[in-house]
Amino acid sequence: MTEKITDETMDYVSILAKLSLSEEEREEAKKDMEKMLNYIDVLQELDTEGIEPSAHVFPIYNVMREDESFEKDTSELLKNAPKEKDGCIVVPKTIGTEA
């Protein structure tokens, strides 16, 4: 049985997930997570001693290819930017405090 999810855990997970949930959403998410984790806990009864974790089903490692540069018109890319100025993407001030 999973330990009950505390408000502190929810705060921590929200930081990791970069989500700021409303009070209501948070309560809902907490209930959902508890339910899911209780369910997932069935895995604990499975004996996995000495088993290698499987990230990918086939043994493919470090596939390399040539790092080739190419020219592209960046204005095409910038069309998708939420905010753009002089060929650059505008973001909120990241150093110091916002005016």
Binding site: T9, Y12, V13, S14, L16, A17, K18, L19, S20, L21, E25, E28, A29, D32, M33, K35, M36, L37, Y39, I40, D41, V42, L43, Q44, L46, T48, I51, E52, P53, S54, A55, H56, V57, F58, I60, V63, R65, K72, E76, L77, K79, N80, A81, P82, K83, I89, V91, P92, K93, T94, T97, E98
Partner: protein, 481 residues
């Protein structure tokens, strides 16, 4: 016969024989879309003008002998998580509502190279997270067989569009059953290939170790033909696999003599609807009569598949969806609150509830202190599940299984209890965990008139066996029509 009612290959044949032109075909499908779309809502983006322009180009290419493929000029619907340059690619999310990719997916390049005409982008559960196509920001898709019911998901738009004859075939993606389950609900044929067979380049990632693009069509031959076009080794996908054989249409012949077919006992027990079960056993009988050997067997670890899947998929989703931060593309919040605040508000406003639920769960199982107990444990369980399938395939050529526990649920029924909805994935997710190919095909209808789909699962790289067995059943019975 009305052109839209034909299979993709039949339409392609008429095009090659000059019995019908590509613009005529595209027009006919757009006419059907006009009739059906208000009730079905299978598409997020449609662009008749562009499709007609492309149709004229392809027709010219056919006249000049450039496009000779049996599917040249046949209109396709594309799931909206596959990048296309001429249509925006929204993933069913507010986050990408206005996103038009700057490059296209490998599968789109492949389709275009044989002269395919893209008719539009199909609706889906937001970021492919869901089993009903109800979590899309762009509204619910309805089941063409009964609009009070869901089409399944997450490729519900792709399957509904084929079932409603709004396009001749479509592409979907399958992370835990997202092609096979909606195919079964909509009465169409859908296939998830072996992991690594179809390039994921240009597919917006959900669970990268599980995602695979696959074909959806009205019959097995169409699905084999589409798979042959989209399957290839691609350097741009580091998990792509160079296969020996890509000629799937060669497997289209009627013969299951001596084929060993296994039905996992754990798949036909509690929780499986009686009518679906009966349909499965009837299919088994057809195979037996045709010379296959069918028996039930114990498949290990069935009950661990869902918890393993949701741990792995959520973890990968939380990592893959970290890129949606409002900086370079996609939605950005209007709230002004510094960089960190922008990230948080953008994501909170841009993602729907189901996506947030899985990102939260994924972040939790990957966080320090819980990583080993949950994520690592699930990866070990995944290895064991793969092993249990390896053992099964040392005895059987094919596993016969339901595609879903029931036929299509009513709209609104599933989202009330997410855990219950997750449990509905029991028969499909193992194929993703073990990288196996699976095909879902219609075998009949239940007393409510809704299609029943049954799934064939094969060993890795054995698509041809699946296609052969599915084709045989279809030829013998008419394919549940």
């Amino acid at each position: 016969m009305e052109i839209i009612k034909l299979s993709a290959l039949e339409i392609g044949e008429k095009i090659q024989k000059r019995e019908v032109s590509v613009p005529e075909v595209v027009k006919a499908f757009y006419h059907q879309i006009e009739q059906k779309e208000k009730d079905i809502n299978a598409f997020i983006t449609l662009d008749e003008e562009q499709a007609m322009k492309r149709a004229a180009q392809v027709q010219e290419g056919i006249e000049k002998g450039i496009y000779t493929h049996p599917l040249a000029g046949v209109p396709a619907g594309i799931k909206d998580n596959i990048c296309t340059k001429e249509f925006k690619t929204t993933c069913g999310s507010k986050m990408l509502e206005n996103f038009t990719p700057f490059y296209e997916a490998n599968v789109i390049e492949s389709l275009k190279s044989i002269g395919a005409v893209l008719i539009g982008k199909t609706n889906m559960d937001e970021f492919a997270m869901g089993s009903t196509t109800e979590t899309s920001y762009f509204g619910v898709t309805k089941n063409p067989h009964n609009t009070d019911h869901v089409p399944g998901g997450s490729s519900g738009g792709s399957c509904a569009a084929v079932a409603a004859k709004e396009c001749a075939y479509s592409l979907g993606s399958d992370t835990g059953g997202s092609i096979r389950q909606p195919s079964s609900f909509c009465g169409v044929v859908g296939m998830k290939p072996t992991y690594g067979t179809v390039s994921r380049y240009g597919l917006v990632a959900y669970g990268s170790s599980l995602d695979q693009i696959g074909p959806i069509g009205t019959n097995v031959s169409d699905v084999a033909a589409i798979l042959e076009v989209i399957a290839s080794y691609d350097k741009k996908d580091s998990t792509s696999i160079q296969r020996k054989d890509y000629q799937f249409m060669k497997a289209l012949h009627e013969d299951v003599k001596g084929m060993r077919i296994g039905i996992p006992k754990g798949y036909v027990g509690d929780g499986l609807d009686d009518e679906v079960k009966e349909a499965l056993y009837n299919m088994a009988k057809t195979y037996e009569k045709a010379g296959a050997k069918v028996e039930e067997f114990d498949l290990d670890l069935v009950k661990y598949a869902i918890p393993t899947y949701y741990t792995v998929a959520s973890a990968e989703a939380s990592s893959n969806l970290a890129r949606f931060d409002g900086v370079k593309y996609g939605y950005r919040t209007e709230k002004s609150s510094g960089l960190e605040g922008m990230y948080n508000h953008t994501r909170t406003e841009g993602f729907g509830q189901e996506v947030k639920r899985r990102i939260m769960l994924g972040s939790y199982v990957l966080s320090s202190g819980y990583y080993e107990a949950y994520y690592l444990k699930a990866l070990k369980a995944k290895a064991l599940i793969k092993k249990s399938f390896d053992e099964a395939f040392s005895t059987y050529d094919i596993i016969l299984a339901p595609a879903a526990p029931t036929t299509a649920p009513a709209i609104g029924e599933s989202l009330k209890d997410p855990l219950k909805m997750y449990l509905g994935d029991i028969y499909t997710i193992s194929a993703n965990l073990a990288g196996l190919p699976g095909i879902s095909m219609p075998v009949g209808r239940d007393t409510k008139g809704l299609p029943i789909g049954i799934q064939l699962i094969g060993n890795c790289f054995e698509e041809s066996k699946l296609i052969q067995a599915a084709y045989t059943y279809e030829s013998l019975t008419g394919g549940g029509k």
